[in-house]
């Protein structure tokens, strides 16, 4: 399978990378032009209003430098775990239905996803034990 890619890409031929190179150059050039362009063209004003943080058009009510409870981050991480789980589950579910029922292949696929789910369960258990879901 990989061999096919090799032939189609023309593996190892530096010439094949010319478009990528141009693309990268273009991206870098675009970034540089923007930075340098604003430096040259953009108006420069200083003032109290200019200095306040941007809060989607609202006036900030207090300082942004505030300590958050550590659980805030932990919850974010646990969310990430489930998020990733779903990302994997969707394609799995979409493909699994195409497999031949009762076949060995289907069984293997089932075992794999169960193992994967086990890891997420462990992550959940860990979070639970760590007290992430306790709000007090």
């Amino acid at each position: 399978m990989d061999g096919c890619i090799a032939t189609t890409l023309g593996a190892g031929d530096p010439g094949a990378y010319l478009p990528i190179f141009l693309m990268i150059m273009g991206a870098i050039g675009f970034a540089c032009i923007n930075v340098v362009g604003t430096l040259i063209l953009g108006p420069r004003r200083k003032g109290e209003t200019k200095g306040i943080p941007y809060e989607s058009g609202m006036t900030p009510v207090q300082s942004a430098r505030k300590r958050f409870n550590v659980r805030f981050y932990l919850i974010a991480m646990v969310f990430l775990v489930f998020d990733v789980e779903v990302v994997f589950l969707y394609p799995w579910a979409a493909t699994f239905s195409n497999l031949e029922p009762q076949s060995e292949q289907a069984f293997t696929w089932l075992v794999r996803i169960m193992f994967f789910l086990l890891t997420t369960v462990v992550a959940y258990l860990y979070g639970f034990r760590k007290g992430v879901f306790k709000f007090d």
């Binding site: 890619i5 090799a6 593996a11 190892g12 031929d13 530096p14 890891t119 034990r129 760590k130 007290g131």
Partner: protein
């Protein structure tokens, strides 16, 4: 893919143990929490047993590397586990027992510490099983990521946090390098599976993109083995982390890096050069320069150090340089012996290095100052042979072995590196290796002389005492005993490593010649 599973039972065992430890370590009952180390030990032992009975994989580039590497990893892992035991949460648990505080899972680090250690070992074993670049990359990261956190939680001080953060950022940079290198290897060959890469190289030869990819991956991987030019972090991080964790850092990522380097080199094959016995020129050169610089820089920097941990860190750098010599030498002639097989020498040396290195760090880890700070200065081990004879003599023996003094283990290991490089005709690097071994004597001698000849410190402030963890001196003594004892039973180990160092594609000179002939045919018609 599923067939591959039969080779992965040690990893699966370790992973399940990890999950178990992670949950057990957060139990509100102190007795259950205390089970962590025991469960880890059982898991490692089972994994070692499974690995020892593991089958060689005939399809892999290095069919026998898996059983050997995994047994070594599990064995040294058990030793490291004994050393790591009790590193975190000692005062905290004592406070809970005496009723000063209540158990707060957010403050406890025990679960993370053990489970991350096991995670790291799982990653390390997966490196040995890797069959594609992506697998290898993920395994390398699984090895490294937990170590960053282990450095940070190993002590409560700010120093270990600084070390951990530094290690993390530089590690990420190193990973970026070799990931970029891997992607160029893919670009150059159109394959991610090592088998296919080897086929592609055999059919199409080496092209510039591939060469560039190989160079960048080797330099990126030199972060893992702490080699020039990626060696800068080593001393700072080893010094910042608690001694047991430093011992782990000197073994685990280094082993992962060497297995990765060997695997990639095996895919390229030692079929180039005038006699079809060396790596392609670019790859050989990068390893050669890295090896020579690494040994020299490591040894030179160690000469002027006073901190024992920094000395050991620089010595760890130098040892990476020594081992790279074996990679340059390659697996030698088909059906060759230990003395001509550089890969076997590297694998065997990793085992030797594991024991000697853990031994020296274990001595340091067993000592502390009266104020609880770690022993680190060279003065702290003064006269250790008279104050704590077992620890002192362990230090002397392990340092002698690191120095390569016959008949200790380090000598047998170094012998393989020397002889394989000579039989591969790499005389220049052997001379560099010989000179460096002589220079290294200077600072190892300090580690030998200071405990043996010097008088212990007089003032109470400077005096060191034993840490109250029984396993740590045990590790020191076990390592020192192994340094002597393993020499007596070296034959089976050497045989196993010689088997592990056999590369299948290596004998494939025929295919390379065919490919070369084909290229010449294509090139000839052009004026």
């Amino acid at each position: 893919m599923t067939d591959k599973l039969i080779y992965l039972w040690p990893e699966v065992t370790l992973f399940i143990t990890t999950c178990l430890v992670m949950v057990l370590g957060l139990s509100p009952q102190a007795e259950v929490r205390r089970l962590c180390a025991w469960v880890s030990a059982v898991g490692l032992t089972v994994a070692a047993g499974l690995a020892a009975n593991g089958e060689p994989d005939p399809n892999a580039l290095l069919p026998n590397i898996m059983p050997f590497a995994k047994v070594v990893i599990a064995a040294v892992g058990l030793l490291l586990l004994m050393l790591l035991a009790g590193t975190v949460d000692r005062e905290y648990e004592a406070d809970i027992e005496s009723g000063k505080t209540k158990f707060n899972p957010l403050r406890s680090n025990r679960a993370e510490f053990y489970s991350f250690f096991l995670f790291s070992l799982t990653g390390l074993m997966l490196c040995a099983s890797a069959e594609s670049l992506i697998w290898l990359f993920l395994a390398l990261e699984l090895t490294s990521l937990p170590t960053y956190i282990m450095v940070i939680i190993s002590t409560r001080g700010a120093k270990s946090q600084e070390a951990g953060v530094k290690y993390f950022f530089l590690g990420a940079l190193g990973a970026a390098f070799f990931l970029f290198g891997f992607s160029l290897i893919f670009g150059g060959t159109g394959a991610t599976h090592f088998d296919d890469i080897a086929d592609s190289i055999a059919a199409n030869g080496i092209n510039p993109i591939l060469t560039l990819g190989l160079l960048i991956s080797m330099i990126g991987l030199s972060f893992k083995i702490a080699a020039v030019p990626m060696h800068f972090y080593t001393a700072d991080v080893y010094q910042g982390a608690a001694s047991p964790v430093s011992a782990m850092l000197a073994f685990v990522p280094k082993t992962a890096g060497f297995i990765a380097i060997i695997t990639i080199c095996a895919a390229v094959g030692w079929n180039y050069g005038p006699n079809h016995t060396s790596l392609p020129e670019g790859l050989r050169l990068v390893l050669w320069i890295t090896a020579a610089l690494t040994m020299t820089v490591g040894n030179m920097l160690a000469l002027r150090q006073r901190s024992v941990k920094r000395i050991l860190a620089y010595s760890s750098i130098a040892h990476s340089g020594y081992m790279l010599v074996g990679v340059i030498a390659g697996p030698g002639p088909v059906g060759g012996s230990f003395t001509s097989n550089g890969l076997a020498a590297v694998l065997f040396y990793l085992l030797c290095y594991g024991f000697m290195n853990v031994g020296t760090f274990a001595v340091l880890a067993s000592l502390k100052h009266a104020d609880g700070s770690e022993a680190d200065d060279i003065d702290d081990i003064r006269g250790l042979c008279s104050t704590h004879p077992l620890l002192g003599w362990s230090m002397v023996l392990c340092a002698l072995s690191l120095l390569g003094m016959p008949p200790l283990l380090g000598f047998v290991g170094k012998l393989g590196l020397f002889t394989s490089a000579i039989s591969a005709g790499e005389y220049a690097i052997v001379i560099v290796l010989g000179l460096n071994s002589a220079i290294a004597a200077v600072y190892y001698l300090r580690l030998i002389v200071t405990p043996y000849l010097d008088k212990p410190a007089e003032q109470d402030v400077l005096r060191v005492e034993k840490v109250g963890i029984i396993t740590r001196p045990m590790v020191a003594v076990i390592s020192a005993a192994s340094v002597i004892g393993l020499v007596l039973v070296a034959q089976p180990l050497i045989e196993a490593s010689s088997r592990a160092g056999v590369a299948t594609r290596h004998g494939d000179v025929h295919a390379v010649e065919q490919a070369a002939a084909l290229r010449d045919d294509i090139n000839e018609p052009r004026p």
